[in-house]
Amino acid sequence: MTATVQTPGRAATPPPRPLDRRRLLVDAALTALVVLALSFALVGFKIEDVPGGLDLLLRFDDVVVAAALAFLVRLGVDLLGAGRPLPVLATSLALAGALAGLLVAEQGQTEPGALTRWLPFGAVVVDWLVVMIALGFAARAAADLWRRRATVAPVATEASTIAATLRVATRVLGPLLLGVAVTLPFLPEVDRRILDIAILVVTYVMLGWGLNIVVGLAGLLDLGYVAFYAVGAYSYALLAQSFGFGFWTCLPFAGIMAGFAGILLGFPVLRLRGDYLAIVTLGFGEIVRVVLLNWYQFTGGPDGISGIPRPTFFGLELTRTASGGGETFHGFFGLTYSPTDRIIYLYYIVLALALLTNAFTMRIRKLPIGRAWEALREDEIACRSLGINPRNTKLTAFSIGAMFGGFGGAFFATRQGFISPESFTFIESAIILAIVVLGGMGSQIGVVFAAVLLIGLPEIFRDLQQYRMLAFGGAMVVIMLWRPRGLLARRRPTIHLPPEGAGR
């Protein structure tokens, strides 16, 4: 999986060396042993809910299979490294073919489970994953073989081609993604479940873009972003409950409140940087959650706030029957009522909010304040020596980032109809931060990819059950190994030198 960069001293395909069988076997055996030791407790025992209590399920067969697979994988990697792709190709193709055949046969079986005991793992998705890995090995081995045959002059290095592809891709992908996003509710095969996932993904894209201002542009590591999300959500919920305001009236207030919370957090952390800043923001996030949990008279504590009003379309309600003398959306336009309408409307609201966040960020990057944020990220001392006020610059970054978190929170409240402090735990901050970091700090489109990867895929792969978080962690590790600075870490300058004499 490593990208081989062609250097004069090292060919892309290492020439076959004399094979040290003993070393290969020992290496593979050691890997298997490590996997065995790691998975013995984690995979081997599973606590299950059974009627009348808990039961301990033993799954040592899975442990053994995992160790055997690890043995094979390590052997394959070593063989490829030693320039022996042929046996790898044969074995991986055979394995993939056999497994895929079994899986397909299993699906066609009228009586389920007859073939299951021949499969390596109980979960079908994991078995398919094994097939994918085997195919990956086969592809790599085939590429090695082909490259050895073709003794042509060195082609462009793998790394640079990837970079070039990405560069072209980002230019085309932005408009393409936007097109898909706008037309999504009307695409075929898009049902309510997909729309729900899309709303979730776009919410996180928006939060990622908001946090990107603080972390990606201003370089202030914020581990408590969920606090602003919570402030926005509670601002809307409480304003709606106490004064009966609607969503659109409250949305700006939710943003302003969250922005103030950002300034409130910003003041004590002005002198802090890096790890220390991260710790304080982490504490701030927890403080907000604990206050929400314990201020029972005001926030309802653990009971949360329910009955939060849904957004209206210029006063028209998107329900079957209008409440309190109002008019319904389908009634006004003479349409037949469909419960999906409300979901589609929510989707467009969050899409609009997200696009607003993006447009704002793109614009402010080209303004002096945006450049000052980036300069602050690069070197605070140099900023001071240029007369940039670090206090104001940091506070604006915190408050504007927080404002978008507040918008996101208000949307979250109106979508769920019910909020409680449980929705605003640290893991939310961590996921939003992970989206920003994996996407490539400061990259807008990278955030989209990372959000789809981190939010969309786990939702789609709910069948993976307990392996879901494992896959989540695995994906993060792979991305960080493959592109340590994020998926799309290329920064484009905000201003170019016009040709001499132009624009006069």
Binding site: L367, R371, D379, I381, R384, S385, G387, L497
Partner: protein
């Protein structure tokens, strides 16, 4: 080496440092130093390592608050500023003091041009209506940005980085980074430019270019230069005035010719006179012992 045009050095000094003292706990880094720096002149501060030169700079540019002393800057347009009373970021903003750093501090991931535009932050901030009108795309901001780019282009041409304007500043070679840092400081439109060892790490050709650049700045721009430098060929060939520090004290002050012959300076740099009778390795030992490091 008097400045061209025969300026009178008796005019009011641009910068007046009086009784500057800086203590860190028990350590007195700068001890009762007074000197002056004139407009359109190059004033060099020299001295062995640890003599307190950079501390003087840090006091002047607001990174340290001096323990004792008065730092008066006479801005030709904006009047008198007492630097020791100002916040660090206000000194470049209001008093017009710009500086470079001993270890270069550029915004590495930002492009060369962006570095120069960031330096004009305060003017652009005003032009963009403190972001509010700028967000809506006002015409005033666009014009201000165009002017900022033109000023940047002027300096890019001068430091010969025009064709690398869109590259990240961190990818420039060392000499280019040094020149860019000077250009960036000049883009803040200062009246006093403080350069902390600008020739450090430059090869002889680059340091000759640097000399020309500094002379150009002195003769063409309305600024005074304050220079910390170890490279004596640079110092002696371009300075109009030299201040020598040793162990935080000022030991000499005058024109290069006077400094070269000053017995105190010779002693500070080469050790006591009787050392001449000692074997050379002992002299070297004593010299290294005098360098407690910055």
């Amino acid at each position: 080496m008097s400045p061209p045009g025969g300026q009178s050095p008796a005019s009011t000094p641009l910068l007046r440092v009086e009784h500057l003292t800086m203590r860190f706990g028990g350590l007195t880094a700068v001890d009762d130093v007074s000197f002056e720096a004139a407009d359109r002149q190059i004033t060099a501060i020299i001295g062995p390592n640890g003599a307190g030169k950079t501390t003087v700079f840090n006091c002047l540019t607001g990174f340290y608050k001096p323990t004792v002393g008065r730092l008066t800057l006479e801005h030709p347009d904006r009047g008198r500023h007492l630097l020791e009373r100002m916040e660090g970021y206000q000194i470049p903003q209001h008093a017009g003091v710009a500086r470079t750093f001993q270890n270069i501090r550029l915004f590495g991931a930002m492009s060369v041009l962006e570095n120069l535009v960031v330096a004009q932050h305060n003017a652009l901030m005003r032009a963009s209506g403190y972001t509010f009108t700028g967000l809506l795309g006002g015409r005033g901001y666009r014009r201000a940005e165009r002017e900022a780019v033109e000023l940047a282009r002027y300096w890019l041409d001068l430091v010969r980085l025009t064709d690398r304007a869109d590259e990240p500043a961190g990818s420039l070679p060392y000499g280019g980074q040094r020149r860019l840092e000077i250009a960036r400081a000049m883009c803040t439109r200062p009246v006093l430019l403080c350069l902390d060892e600008p020739a450090a790490g430059l090869n002889p050709r680059e340091s000759a270019e640097l000399r020309d650049l500094l002379l150009h700045i002195r003769d063409r721009e309305r600024v005074g230069l304050l220079l910390i430098e170890h490279d004596m060929t640079v110092v002696m060939s371009i300075s109009d005035h030299i201040v020598v520090l040793d162990y935080g004290r000022k030991i000499a002050d005058g024109e290069p010719r006077e400094i070269r012959d000053d017995p105190n300076v010779i002693r500070a740099y080469l050790g006591e006179e009787e050392d001449e009778a000692l074997p050379p390795e002992v002299v070297a030992d004593r010299q290294s012992a005098r360098q407690p490091g910055c």
